[in-house]
């Protein structure tokens, strides 16, 4: 469930993010919607990682070689890292734009753990450049993720995609 919820939240975050930068409507409201969608992605990936650690996670046996399995594993963990770091860098930008683009209810991230002496503060512009870089990398990885799922379905002919999209399973009958 967290998989599809995070996918929809990312689509919304991308739509509102692009609208805030290039759209003609109210930028402040669109920016706030972008921030809430991004924070939803952050919350969902934290819940998913918690559940992955707490519960035994199903390991799929697929038709790929050992190398392909390693690539798939690396891609999944890179996706998780980007789904954490992209909203986080966006939160840093939003926290330092309190003057002009305040997001109602969003805590100032710079105040978190301010009593601890680890790390340094970061400028909004640096965080923004890294945020944009993460967004494009995340989009490229999501494209590869979708292509890999289609490859599994049509080339390896395994049940990974059917298990992820329950409608396909119902149409095709019970999986072997």
């Amino acid at each position: 469930m967290t998989h599809w919820a995070a996918a929809w939240a990312m689509i919304l975050a991308l739509y509102f993010g692009l609208s805030a930068v290039y759209g003609n409507g109210s930028r402040q409201e669109t920016f706030a919607a972008h921030a809430y969608a991004g924070l939803t992605v952050l919350a969902l990936v934290v819940i998913r990682l918690f559940l992955r650690t707490l519960l035994p996670w199903p390991k799929e046996k697929n038709g790929g070689s050992r190398f392909l399995q390693l690539v798939a594993e690396a891609m999944h963990w890179t996706l998780y890292a980007l789904m954490l770091l992209t909203p986080l860098t966006g939160w840093i930008v939003a926290s330092s734009m309190g003057c002009c683009m305040a997001v109602p209810g969003l805590p100032n991230i710079d105040l978190l753990g301010s009593g601890l002496s680890i790390g340094r503060p970061v400028s909004a512009m640096t965080a923004y450049h890294v945020h944009v870089f993460f967004v494009w990398t995340l989009l490229a990885l999501i494209f590869l993720h979708v292509m890999a799922a289609l490859f599994h379905h049509f080339v390896f002919r395994d049940t990974i995609l059917v298990k992820m999209i329950s409608v396909l399973g119902r149409r095709a009958g019970p999986a072997e």
């Binding site: 770091l85 710079d110 601890l116 790390g119």
Partner: protein, 74 residues
């Protein structure tokens, strides 16, 4: 000193001419991006949130061990 100054001028002129190349531009962009990545990943907000996440996952791993121990006893 005058010779040094002339050499410095010539070198900086050469560097300026070379900086228009695609490779140099790509290297400059990659260098800037790597520096920005390093600054952001070692910044206070990112380190605090990542430390909290590691703590949360450690609690989940501990709970998993406890639950496994309890179910094997039952």
């Amino acid at each position: 000193m005058e010779g040094m100054s002339e050499m410095h001028h010539a070198m900086s002129h050469m560097h300026h001419e070379g900086s228009n190349g695609v490779v140099e531009q790509a290297l400059g962009l990659a260098g800037r991006l790597s520096a920005q990545l390093l600054i952001v990943l070692t910044s206070a907000p990112v380190l605090h949130i990542l430390a909290a996440l590691v703590l949360l996952l450690a609690i989940a791993a501990l709970l998993r061990l406890l639950l496994a121990g309890r179910s094997s006893q039952a």
